[in-house]
């Protein structure tokens, strides 16, 4: 598989939502962030701090009030095929089979059935999807398999950037660790730039190169912490001393932001 990745730059982004009764609720305030080509950055912060909003803005689903978001230097002005998005919940179309959900973006992009079938086989292999379930509807799949399908769908068009919004939060702790590990294997193969939102400090440390701590709403970056953990990583690395010290740093910054709020 060819390595395709891009650099995301968020520069001074303000974003607000209209509220009932007039006025606007500021959600992001002068947010600035850069995610280098092929890097993995975890966004962590309290509930409602704007992490998911930032992800949607990067995905081109929300337009900032001020500031710019660029991919490889070009402004993002709307949904872009170079960016794949995995939502917190799988958002599978219940009337389609797992295979048809995975190839849905390809169908929208006008790919022929033959090309879609070839790409489906690659994607199923990439996300380790059991070939026996590709004909099943989402209601017949386990939570983990549904998230695999959602991940495969997000990777269908070989995006340069993969945005993940707490993708494994609904899974149990053991499954979540296994999925984190699989995400790293997938990243090594597909080599996309990854920005992912999480509430788990351990998950952020295990997966990311950098952890960006975001303040309570309106969200802005309060800390950008490197993770000094060698790659490739295994679950045993979670016991390393550097994990504890990084976790302490993240907690301290999260605590500071909570105290400030």
């Amino acid at each position: 598989m060819t390595r395709t990745s891009g650099t995301i730059r968020v520069d001074g982004v303000d974003l607000s939502f209209p509220v009932r009764g007039g006025g606007r609720l500021p959600v992001l305030d002068a947010m600035s962030l850069e995610v280098a080509d092929g890097g993995i950055v975890a966004l962590i912060g309290p509930n409602g701090c704007g992490k998911s909003t930032l992800l949607r803005a990067i995905a081109g689903l929300l337009e900032p009030d001020r500031g710019t978001i660029t991919l490889d230097g070009a402004p993002i002005t709307g949904p872009d095929p170079r960016i794949g998005l995995v939502f917190q919940e799988p958002r599978l179309l219940p009337w389609r089979s797992a295979a048809d959900n995975i190839t849905y973006p390809l169908e929208l992009a006008g790919w022929s059935p033959e090309r879609r079938a070839t790409r489906l086989a690659e994607l199923a292999d990439l996300v380790a999807l059991d070939p026996g379930v590709t004909g099943n509807r989402p209601a017949e799949l386990s939570g983990g398999t549904r998230q695999r399908v959602a991940l495969a769908r997000a990777l269908a068009l070989e995006p340069e950037v993969l945005l993940l919004d707490e993708p494994f939060s609904a899974l149990d702790a053991l499954s979540r660790e296994r999925f984190d590990l699989e995400l790293l294997r997938l990243w090594e193969r597909a080599a996309t730039t990854i920005v992912f939102v999480t509430h788990s400090i351990a998950e952020a440390i295990f997966v990311a190169d950098r952890i960006v701590v975001i303040s309570p709403r309106p969200g802005c970056v309060v800390a950008d912490l490197p993770v000094e953990l060698a790659r490739p990583r295994s679950l045993d690395d979670l016991d390393a001393a550097v994990v504890s010290s990084t976790a302490r740093d993240v907690r301290r910054h999260l605590g500071d932001t909570a105290a400030a709020a």
């Binding site: 949904p79 872009d80 958002r91 179309l93 973006p105 209601a139």
Partner: protein, 249 residues
Amino acid sequence: MSRSVLVSVAAALVVFVLIWQAVVVISGFPPFILPPPAQVVTRLLTAWSAGIIQPHLWATLVEVALGFAVGAGSAVLVGYALARSALVERLVSPYLVAAQATPILALAPLIALWFGPGLVGKVLICSLIVFFPVAIATMVGIRAVDARLLELGRSLRATRRQILLTLEIPAALPSILGGMRVGVTLAVVGAIVGEWAGAERGLGVLINLARGSLFDIPLMFATLLTIALVGIALYLVVVLVERRLVGAR
């Protein structure tokens, strides 16, 4: 259909027939008021073998099929517009509700006057009666489409047409088909009402003939039974289409 379901349906039918027979026996009504079930079934079979029912049945079926197609088809379009445009809803809703509140029995003679006793008037009456439940079901179904799925479509750069065809309609299909279940049985009512208002052929005409000049009450009941069977059959067709299209989600 599973064996247990078939047994339940057969048992319900037996109970219905037994109650009917019991009412006949206990009340002592003569056959020209309430014929017993056996006499109605016998009359249905003799009328069918004599070719009395078929031309009327065919006429009604054509009216129902065309009326349902026109009514449900236009209702889906209007229902979608009602769901997605506040302006359309404000402009169209009062007329929709007014049309629904006006009894079709009151409108039928007027439509027969304007369009004559031919097919067009019957199709129009059927369409009118089918329109409201299907339009409302479509509006409700489209409005209930999960906004998160629409966001998914946008994130995948789906065009307006792709969102309509691959997200909104499939998501709203259970609701739309629910409206069609109601609509298809009402279409039969519309056809009969239209035939009463003026027609040369149709099951509604046959009822009038059986009750009036022929004074053949068992034939009238046999026609009513035929109408009920048509309603059930059409309802089952929609249910089968629904199972095929919606299936297990």
